[in-house]
């Protein structure tokens, strides 16, 4: 997705400040949506959001609360915190939970725009990875259930003899499955196959969740 379609979401109960920041970002070439509370962002925020710029201190859900909710979602955009005064404890916590940046509301313009730029870039990266991941997942979907079982054993580095014993089939059948797998996934070596499986996040304990902290 290109920059043109993506928006920066400003979440701040201070309407005057959020209007001014919205103008600055528009002046810098971003599309912007403003929300008066974390609740309204969660209800109305669009898929196109590339970056959430949230006030730390808000009535109702605070910036931190919003972060906690977003953490649970797949494909949540990067978060930049804005605060009236620097608050070290909050900033440490926010950064540990993966915030893109933590800035005061009167931070230098360059710093602010850089943070937004970084967030957009990271969002673009994350979207790219998600797309790539989906393609990978798609190609793995072409494998039969038995081929999946064989693949699982292969990437664990087990020799064919052991795989055959574990699955209760003969070694030759294992070889046939392996050929089918490499053909379907278009890989030439076991090392390449292992990288592919890792990238697709297969065979980890909770394969359905997108890996965190990238």
């Amino acid at each position: 997705m290109s920059d043109a379609g993506r928006v920066a979401a400003i979440v701040d109960d201070d309407l005057s400040f959020s209007a001014s920041l919205s103008r600055l970002l528009r002046g810098a070439g971003y599309a912007v949506q403003t929300f008066a509370s974390a609740e309204s962002y969660l209800a109305q925020g669009s898929e196109k959001t590339a970056c959430v710029i949230a006030d730390l201190r808000m009535p109702g859900l605070s910036g931190m609360d919003l972060q906690a909710v977003l953490e649970q979602q797949v494909g949540a955009p990067p978060l930049i915190f804005l605060t009236g005064q620097g608050d070290i404890a909050s900033s440490v916590r926010a950064m540990r939970h993966g915030a893109e940046d933590f800035l005061t509301k009167d931070a230098p313009k360059a710093e602010l725009l850089q943070a937004v730029e970084r967030a957009f870039a990271r969002d673009a990266r994350q979207r790219q990875q998600r797309r790539h991941f989906q393609v990978l997942r798609g190609s793995f979907d072409a494998l039969s259930p038995r081929e999946h079982e064989v693949l699982q054993q292969v990437v664990r580095g087990k020799p064919n003899k052991q795989i055959a014993a574990a699955l209760g089939i003969i070694e030759r059948t294992v070889k046939l499955h392996r050929t089918a797998i490499t053909t379907k996934l278009q890989v030439r070596s076991v090392a390449e196959l292992t990288r592919l499986v890792e990238a697709a996040g297969l065979f980890v304990e909770d394969a359905s969740t997108f890996p965190k902290g990238q």
């Binding site: 005057s16 001014s20 103008r23 600055l24 002046g27």
Partner: protein, 608 residues
């Protein structure tokens, strides 16, 4: 010249003398009816005395008869006036009995003057020699039964007097009953019996009605002397009590004044002159006193006096009296109206007191209190300072961002000038927002004394909300401030009432800060309380005040907070009470603590 011609005139002159004395006393204002009647009886006795003497020297039965008729009239007047005197003097006895005696006597007299009905026939005169070479004439009388009528009248008088005397004695005035009642009874029995014996022919003697009257005269003279000495004693006591009052009023610094409304004259003690700064030699009148009062206070004093005259209540005014130097003396003048029987005011009586010292210390106390209130405000704002800094920071940040955005719009090619107009409007609005924050702070931080004015609670509430918003957000406490705008205006000092409100809201937030964070709120509500008051309630979602703390909450230096001074609520209560309101706390479920205070509705507001 014999003893008879000496004794009877002496008796007559004694009667006249006492009669004149009593008449003089009776004519003193107010008119004394009892003494007037007594003097009449004394004059009648004097007349009877003269007639008795003339009868003793009568030359013919016809002359004797004429004199006797006159004598009977005089005796009747004595009887009637004595009866009336006893009735008025004792203020008791039977009225009908008092009237019956003279009435029956009068009927007897009517018969005496009717030709052919004379009470007794007079046949001849006899001359009787007595001791000392004196001689007198007596008549030989043949009475008819009608003679009983006058004696019946005397008897009724006797009964009336005895009855009235007993009643008076029962009421505790034994001496008066014995002396006056006794003397009248002795006279009536003595003179009556003696006359009756003469007229039935048992005694051949002259009438002794007037000499017998001497008994009454002695009794009255005795009564008069004791009255005079009692009056002298009263006078001495009065003087003594006046001296005591002078001493007391001088010691207390009190000036005493009396304003006679009928003559529009003022009597006052010397202290009044010195309190009002008027030379002792100058004569006082109401206008002079008012003129001595400070020009700004004259109307208040006049109104108070007029109100007192119409509604019959005591008045008290504290007013200034300019002194020679630029300073003023504070005087409290108090007064009371006195009315006559018909209810119209006749005089104002009152005192004046120098209260300058009290005023000074009140002023000092007020200054101290406002200093204390100021330091409490400063400390409270200190507590709110980080939140308020945020409140100020917010518009400044918005201004910065707007300016930066404007720069970016100008750098575009072509420059996006259309974007600039809303940006400039917002910058202006944010500048105003920041100024409002500073102005609110400046108002609260300024050191000032209390100045009452008419104010809308709605405006105050707006400021309270603005000042506490940031702090409440930081502590994630919901502060709901409602009402106020539809209520009548109140009378008060905006800064001090704002201080009370802030203090209660900040206290409430502190109280629930220690509670779990699920649903924390502070609510400020206002409602009209009766016609003359508005009540403001600040309640919170906390656990309320511990019952053992409820009593000491408003005591100075009582605090449950680690960093608290314990003077906030004390000052808040002082402020509210200085406004004529009350401030109290209670636990009202489902809320935690509720603090309520009342403020008086401003005069215009109360009229609606």
């Amino acid at each position: 010249m014999n003893w008879i011609t000496i004794v009877w005139p002496m008796v007559a002159s004694a009667c006249l003398t006492l009669g004149l004395i009593e008449l003089r006393i009776a004519l003193n204002r107010p008119l004394d009816g009892a003494r007037l009647l007594f003097s009449l009886s004394a004059f009648a006795a004097a007349a009877a005395c003269g007639l008795e003497l003339a009868m003793m020297r009568a030359n013919s039965p016809l002359q004797f008869q004429a004199l006797l008729n006159g004598f009977d009239v005089a005796a009747g007047v004595v009887i009637a006036s004595l009866g009336g005197f006893v009735w008025l003097y004792f203020r008791c006895g039977n009225k009908w009995l008092a009237l019956a005696g003279p009435a029956i006597y009068a009927v007897g007299l009517v018969f005496e003057f009717l030709p052919g009905w004379a009470l007794c026939d007079l046949t001849e005169l006899q001359t009787i020699d007595t001791f000392g070479g004196a001689s007198y004439r007596v008549a030989v009388l043949v009475p008819n039964p009608l003679i009983a009528l006058p004696y019946l009248g005397v008897l009724l008088l006797l009964v009336f007097v005895v009855h009235a005397s007993i009643e008076l004695a029962r009421r505790g005035q034994r001496r008066r009953a014995a002396v006056i009642g006794g003397s009248v009874v002795v006279w009536a029995i003595g003179a009556g019996t003696h006359s009756a014996l003469i007229e039935v022919g048992v005694l051949q003697m002259p009438y002794l009605v007037s000499p017998a009257y001497l008994v009454i005269m002695l009794a009255m003279a005795y009564q008069l002397t004791s009255d005079v000495s009692a009056a002298a004693q009263l006078g001495r006591q009065l003087q003594e009590s006046e001296r005591r009052m002078d001493l007391a009023s001088a010691a207390a610094g009190l000036g005493v004044w009396v304003w006679d409304l009928r003559r529009n004259a003022v009597w006052a003690t010397a202290k009044i002159h010195s309190l009002f700064g008027i030379p002792q030699s100058e004569r006082l009148d109401p206008a002079r006193l008012i003129a001595a009062v400070h020009p700004d206070d004259r109307d208040a004093l006049r109104h108070a006096v007029e109100a007192s005259l119409t509604n019959d209540r005591d008045f008290e005014v504290e007013h200034r009296v300019p002194r020679g130097d630029a300073a003023v003396r504070w005087i409290a003048t108090r007064g009371r109206v006195e009315r006559d029987a018909s209810g119209s005011p006749i005089l104002l009586r009152g005192v004046a007191l120098d209260i300058s010292a009290r005023r000074r210390s009140e002023l000092e106390l007020q200054q101290l209190q406002s200093q204390l209130a100021h330091s409490s405000r400063v400390s409270m704002l200190g507590q709110l300072s980080s939140a308020l800094a945020h409140e100020l920071h917010q518009p400044l940040c918005a201004i910065l961002r707007n300016a930066e955005a404007a720069e970016l719009f100008l750098q575009q090619d072509p420059p996006m000038l259309g974007e600039l107009r809303p940006i400039l409007a917002d910058i202006r609005a944010d500048n105003q927002r920041a100024r409002d924050v500073i102005e609110r702070l400046r108002r609260l931080l300024k050191r000032r004394s209390m100045a009452s004015q008419t104010l809308a609670l709605g405006d105050l509430f707006g400021d309270t909300a603005a000042l506490t918003r940031a702090d409440a957000a930081a502590r994630s406490i919901r502060v709901e401030i409602e009402g106020g705008s539809d209520l009548p205006k109140v009378q008060g000092d905006p800064v001090h009432i704002q201080q009370v409100l802030l203090n209660l809201v900040v206290n409430a937030m502190d109280a629930i800060d220690r509670e779990p964070a699920d649903d924390r709120w502070v609510a400020v509500r206002a409602r009209q309380h009766g016609r003359s008051e508005v009540e403001v309630a600040v309640s919170d979602s906390g656990h309320g005040i511990r019952p053992e703390d409820l009593g000491s909450l408003f005591e100075p230096f009582f605090t449950t907070k680690a960093e608290g001074m314990g003077i906030g609520l004390t000052i808040a209560r002082t402020i509210v009470e200085a406004h004529g309101g009350r401030l109290w706390a209670e636990n009202v479920p489902p809320a935690g603590a509720t603090f309520r205070f009342t403020l008086p509705v401003a005069a215009e507001g109360a009229v609606r």
